[in-house]
Point group: C2
DNA sequence: CCTACCGATCGGTAGG
DNA sequence: CCTACCGATCGGTAGG
């Protein structure tokens, strides 16, 4: 792992714990066992760290969505795959995902605009899948915005629960979360 | 409204937008059309503002939960009432709820401990309702933690969607959200 | 990767 | 509610 990679990883951990604004370059340097000034040999500044962390994981979602859209499965199956996608990314990028969720508003300039665009496109793609599922009768004819809101609320929170889970519990989650989100909890 | 109330309200708006750590006492003073030093005639410091905002709305949830527990309705009806409770609080305390959700980790000392305790009790009470619903057969015999996770994820996010909604859309939400959360979206 | 340092800004206080 | 100010700390640079 390059030194820059190590800095990004450590920064994601600290940002997750205390938030971007509350973490200083001196905090980050101390966690890396170096001085603040030395960080600037690897990164241009605090903003670059934030932008890199967030946009990397944002692109993971976009790539995942593209793959789901390419297959010709049912809307229900696509929704199921997206739920699995969120669980997988939450497992692999737990800290970065936390930063994306809590500190995206501290992005500035072009990275901010890029993040907003990626998120808007992702939500639109997700909505289209739900709409097609309503059309085919797979989903109830309810308010699509409310359906999407419920799904994304839970999917965006997964990173909060994943770290506490064992491997077998994560396996359970992959089975039960699609069931709960799509078919509900009532008998 | 007392001057202190005005300060708390303005602070909640700013904290919601930029986060506790990124808002300075000078920002808050400017939004109140006064100088930073003058704030200290009404509040003891930045921490007191944060603690007051968060604990007030946290107690709203505890009070609401107590009322729901007192009635002798079914578990399903209780879960429905809790969903309505979250919508109502999100409507009345939108900014404070945002602060609770995003900045609780910046609480210090006794207020931090109190918040953690209130949250733990609330989640435990919610879990008991779900468990009793499983026992009576109202809910599927699934992992209770996963059920609770899904419900709370969505309920905690409501404040993000409420401000964009019209009165009629909020009425729709009160009808459809319990349906989606409890009976799912599949036909 | 370090020491030394910059101007700016932070939360908060003194005293009126 | 204000002016004036405090020590501490911020993100970042110069120069080695």
């Amino acid at each position: 792992m390059t030194r820059k990679r190590q800095i990004l990883k450590t920064a994601a951990q600290l940002f997750k714990e205390r938030g971007y604004s509350a973490v200083t370059m001196r905090d980050l340097a101390a966690a890396m066992d170096m001085k603040a000034a030395s960080l600037y040999n690897h990164i241009s500044g605090k903003q670059e760290i934030l932008a890199t962390i967030i946009l990397e994981v944002a692109h993971e979602f976009t790539t995942g969505m593209d793959m789901v859209e390419e297959n010709d499965k049912s809307a229900f199956a696509k929704a199921e795959q997206l739920i699995i996608l969120h669980i997988k990314i939450a497992l692999e990028y737990t800290d970065a995902l936390a930063v994306l969720n809590t500190d995206w508003m501290h992005l500035e300039g072009a990275p901010y605009q890029e993040y907003i665009t990626l998120r808007k496109e992702y939500e639109l793609d997700f909505k289209k899948i739900l709409e097609s599922g309503i059309k085919t009768g797979e989903f109830k004819a309810m308010n699509v915005e409310t359906m999407l809101f419920n799904l994304l609320s839970t999917l965006r929170s997964i990173y909060l629960w994943i770290p506490k889970k064992s491997t077998t519990e994560v396996a359970d989650l992959k089975k039960e979360l699609p069931q709960i989100l799509l078919t509900g909890i009532s008998s």
